[in-house]
Symmetry: C2
Amino acid sequence: MAVEDFAAAPKGGKTGWKQDPEGVRADILATALAEFAESGLSGARMDEIAAKTRTSKRMIYYYFGSKNELYQKALEESYRAVRSGEEALELDHLDPVSALKRLTEFTFTHHRENPNFIRLVMIENIHKGQYLAQSDTIKNLNRAAIANLDALYERGVKTGVFREGLSPLRIHWLISAISFFNVSNATTFSLLFGSELYGDLGQKTACQDASDAVLNFVRAQP
Amino acid sequence: MAVEDFAAAPKGGKTGWKQDPEGVRADILATALAEFAESGLSGARMDEIAAKTRTSKRMIYYYFGSKNELYQKALEESYRAVRSGEEALELDHLDPVSALKRLTEFTFTHHRENPNFIRLVMIENIHKGQYLAQSDTIKNLNRAAIANLDALYERGVKTGVFREGLSPLRIHWLISAISFFNVSNATTFSLLFGSELYGDLGQKTACQDASDAVLNFVRAQP
DNA sequence: CGGAAATTGTACTATTCAGTTAATTGTGTC
DNA sequence: GACACAATTAACTGAATAGTACAATTTCCG
């Protein structure tokens, strides 16, 4: 059941509500995620989160125990949501160069469309990963991405289009760096250097630049 | 205050202190910079900052007025310190390819050696650049970097080693992305994918990868 | 010297905010 | 219809914390 559906439930009258613990949990989590992404862990206010849910502060503590636990659950939820969006990507039927190009462009676009996720990861890095470290759930989700990239890279090496001696980790690092920075530092970069890279056209160019940079990095030199 | 207490006061010299407003200001600023970088704007505590200076909380307000103003001054100071470290870089006497390689490796290393600066920029992005936006000082500092890169790029195009149609901004964007991400996301990246890229050897490889990626991106294809 | 200005320490306040108390109402199930 | 548990509300508490009042001390400079 989607959170939006729950919103349609009538609240007024005496016999307003249905028992829906999962819906209430999901509502709180979605609101908290947005609020932590907006203001950071210390900056977010429990009263503010409560006001933006259709339930109460008491219920947040009822379900999540404390601010820190809520933050951690929101972080996990954010990773889960983002990774589930990545599953549709089918790269096996493409030739290695096309596949790597598609993966890079997908990652670039995907990061751009999930700024809240990016902001939570920034916040988590500010906090030195102390909440991510406690979450085994998240760690497992990310191995798959590397495994996929490994297969892709080996295919490319075999057919001679990719150079030898790289590791999928280093390729992933490069793709992530460009795609992440593009979103995470958009504000300061625009302020310091103008916003020409952050209009529609600029971002098209940037996406193209990203895949050029990655492909030229991995490709065997003729 | 009893005379004994006064004599025991660890005030340095025999009879108290010298007027040193600039020293006190600098002390506060350096301490605040470290503390904001460590804990963020909301997370940092004025009492904690005060305790780590050799002066008092009262003096922080005396000189800086408020927490937010102190944060802004610390941000400015951080930019100033970092940019002044870049001045030693002389690229004009190198051929374009060597110069670009050197610039990339320098930026990579420089970012790595200034994690507090990186963290303040992350924090500023979380706050959507609202303090950076108020600081004309900082904006001017960064135009120079682009101008230098522009000259370098044009030299390379003229001698045929760089491809046409790029802008210095896009090159700077790529160099920054890699160098910044390497530091900003070191914790989460290590947690998720292992820390092999973040040992001494791993970082040497990463630096090499950075300059490879930038050079291959800019170089004319033979 | 002696007064003005700069500098500093102590102790305080006003507020914000995470977390709680305690009582109540609705729902599903037997 | 009785029982357990899900869900809800509003006021409250205690700790943390940004910011201040004010007196005391020191330097500066005539």
